[in-house]
């Protein structure tokens, strides 16, 4: 930000920030700044979810400071010390110009192209976008480039789809351009069905015009006049901001007829998803846009030949579109300076799970898993050891800690049985049971299978049954081989990407954590102490203070005892919900797996 001569207070109001209480902080500043010559504004995602609510102060000299975990009660002091007296409250600052904080690495090791405007501009004001070269790429293309040149630039940049499969974007656009017919569609896939991923939501909430501009450029390049954004209904704030952005861009003449006097027409419509993961798949998405059930269909014909309403359509992911204006403005060569030979540019990842610094990061392709987890993410939240990293959502794979040197690019991840996916990175520490994780994903895909083909519908159900048996302690010899064999069959026989990838979490956890399966099957123990049927809760009599808190909270009334004496858990009644562990202030409750000594004597 250049020097503006006055102070700007910017509160991060993406939906996760709001969930952490940022709206209240914004209101507190509004009151506290009444009468001051200070501009109060808001933005979307600043990326440091783990420090939300976040407040950035841009100083009159152009420098900036970001405060983390800001509570309304701190606002008065920030205003007085920082804004009035010019003394930033260093203890509360998580990132700032000229300051080294424990969190500096989180920001400084990133490379921002897609997220350049996120957390910076006000997503509900088009002028804010225009100030950061907004719609300049569109202008450049319409005034000085032919559609072929736009496609050529995207092709030369090496941009590959960020929605999962990594198909070259330029090639996809040129297919659609070459398809005969005048009526064509550009579709933005904002379904973001992968649980644990929130990149697309953050981009839409923080920089909606960037995505619209990418779609407009795609429309110009392939000769389309209409675009759809298919967005999941679980993202109400993103939908709201998109609607505002479309209205404002239409008003300014960036969307509509004869855009910027060029003769190019383009309109964008929003379609809200209704909660079906499979609708992220291209042919299912098309059916859903047409108002039908989202069932995938056999390809060919490909969407590029026959998509929405039977017309040529090109589908890209939110993040893919968000890259496009930057590439057109800065050139393909600037873009492919970042990344590796086969995977150009940067990638946005959503860091979640057991990580110390969870949030949204953008890094050059080729960075290693270890660099992401340890250098940027600050290691494990529990302080414990990394066990695995799950990439690619339900269709991805679990990468064991030992393979942390793997570079993050499409080919390297594929080689080890994982996939890039859309960018959700779930960090797991030693407390996670890998069989439970596999079961979790299977449960998800079983629910989400559309049921059209038998391999997916029945196969998924059976895989899940076996996993459930194993976690119940009823695993049998041969189960692992059975899982592997069925996995291969489902992969080969399923019609769409959902079924074809269903076995991935099972196969990778077997491949890298086989001993954990064996422990469940042969020894009837859950080494991570997660699987209910294989664990027992016990009160440590020598530690228990007899405060009775656990007994009050236990939902099944399984705990009893006299005040000031050790309490006891009735194993018959215990539902193994674990609540007692979290309420006991004295860490008196222990969890054991297998037939440990104490069970009978205490039970």
């Amino acid at each position: 930000m250049s020097s503006t001569g006055r102070t700007i207070v910017n509160v991060g109001l993406a939906s996760c920030g709001i969930a952490a209480g940022a709206q209240k902080v914004y209101e507190a500043f509004k009151t506290a700044l009444d009468g001051f010559e200070v501009q109060l504004t808001f933005s979307g995602c600043m990326g440091m979810c783990y420090k939300e609510p976040l407040v950035e102060i841009r100083n009159p000299d152009g420098t900036r400071h970001i405060y983390g975990k800001v509570q309304p009660a701190q606002v008065a002091q920030i205003v007085e010390e920082h804004i009035q007296k010019g003394n930033p409250v260093l203890d509360w600052i998580v990132y700032g110009d000229g300051i080294k904080t424990p969190d500096s690495d989180y920001i400084e090791r990133q490379q921002r192209i897609i997220l350049k405007n996120c957390g910076v501009i006000n997503p509900e004001e088009i002028d804010s976008y225009l100030e950061v070269e907004g719609y300049q790429a569109l202008k450049k293309a319409l005034q000085s480039m032919t559609p072929e040149q736009v496609i050529d630039e995207i092709s030369r940049s090496g941009l590959r789809g960020r929605g999962g499969a990594g198909f070259p974007t330029g090639t996809k656009w040129s297919f659609a351009r070459k398809s005969p017919g005048k009526e064509k569609y550009v579709i933005c896939n904002a379904d973001e069905g992968d649980p644990g991923a929130f990149m697309d939501r953050s981009v839409l909430e923080s920089n909606p015009h960037g995505v619209l501009e990418g779609m407009l450029l795609a429309g110009y390049a392939m000769g389309a006049e209409n675009g759809y954004i298919y967005i999941r209904a679980e993202y109400p704030l993103a939908i709201k901001r998109l609607k505002i952005a479309i209205d404002q861009a239409t008003e300014k003449g960036y969307i509509g007829n004869n855009i910027l006097g060029s003769g190019f027409n383009f309109n964008i419509m929003i379609r809200e998803g209704a909660g079906a993961f499979v609708c992220g798949e291209e042919t299912a998405l098309i059916a859903s846009v047409e108002g039908k059930r989202g069932m995938p269909r056999i390809r060919p014909p490909f969407p590029a030949q026959s998509g929405v309403w039977g017309k040529p359509s090109s589908i890209n992911n939110v993040e893919t579109f968000a890259n496009v204006p930057w590439i057109i403005l800065n050139g393909a060569d600037s873009f492919n300076r970042f990344g590796t030979e086969s995977s150009k540019g940067t990638k946005v990842f959503a860091l979640a799970g057991g990580i110390a610094r969870g949030g949204l990061i953008e890094v050059p392709m080729g960075i290693t898993i270890n660099e992401i987890v340890h250098d940027i993410g600050g290691g494990l939240a529990s302080g414990g050891k990394l066990k695995a990293v799950q990439t690619g959502g339900p269709s991805g794979g679990c990468i064991p800690a030992a393979m942390g040197d793997t570079p993050v690019d499409y080919e390297s991840l594929k080689k080890i049985g994982a996939i890039m996916g859309s960018g959700g990175l779930l960090i797991m520490d030693e407390s996670v049971c890998m069989v439970d994780v596999a079961k979790f994903f299977l449960n998800f895909t079983k629910e989400e299978s559309c049921g059209k083909c038998t391999f997916c519908r029945v196969g998924t159900y059976q895989l899940l049954n076996i996993l459930e048996r194993i976690t119940r302690g009823e695993g049998r010899p041969g189960d692992i081989e059975l899982l592997e064999e069925m996995g291969e069959k489902i992969r080969a026989g399923a019609l769409c990407g959902l079924g074809q990838t269903v076995p991935n979490p099972v196969l990778t956890t077997i491949k890298y954590f086989r001993s954990e399966y064996e422990a469940h099957i042969n020894d009837k123990i859950c080494p991570a102490k997660k699987c209910k049927e294989l664990i027992t809760y016990l009160v440590k009599a020598d530690v228990c203070k007899g405060c009775g808190r656990c007994s009050k909270e236990c939902p099944t009334g399984a705990i009893s005892g006299e005040k000031k004496q050790a309490f006891v858990i009735d194993q018959e009644k215990c539902a193994r919900c674990g609540l007692c562990v979290s309420v006991c202030k004295f860490k008196s409750i222990q969890v054991i797996t297998g037939k440990g000594e104490g069970v009978t004597s205490n039970g």
Binding site: C16, P195, A276, K292, G294, G358, A575
Partner: protein
Amino acid sequence: MGETIKDSDKAALDEIVQKYNHDKGAAIMILQQVQASFGYVSEDMLDYISKLTKVPASDLYGIATFYAQFRLEPVGDNFIQVCHGTACHLAGAEQLSEAIQNEIGIKSEGTSEDGKFTLEHVACLGCCSHGPVITFNGETYAKMTPEKVKKLVRQAGKSCQCGNAEGSVKEGCEANV
């Protein structure tokens, strides 16, 4: 067929259909709007909408059952969604759901007998780094614990047991926690 719908409700449905029907493939949008207005889409409503739109009722029914968003029954006074996405699962979503179930007296998803609460599982709310996450009457709560969720539920259910309207809880009311 459609007979059990009140006239005022029919008028509301007419209006929704009129607003969206000009769009090609509007069926899902119409049902979404109906649910936004009524809180659910009943079979009667589907029949009635079918007459207005000429979309076969079986198609509408197919849509309503295919997509997780649609509910064929009304929801309770308080609507709770617990995220069971991966990050929330790892952070203890199951314990949250169990705590809510215990508190409102149901076995899995659904509405409590007194109609005060509806519990629903959702796939991911996009706030994964703050897991486990729930929404309670539309508001998102991050980093929930079974204790916090029980408190929320009790507070919302306050008015019920003593039969009083919200905000005027009788002294000594058991629910007055």
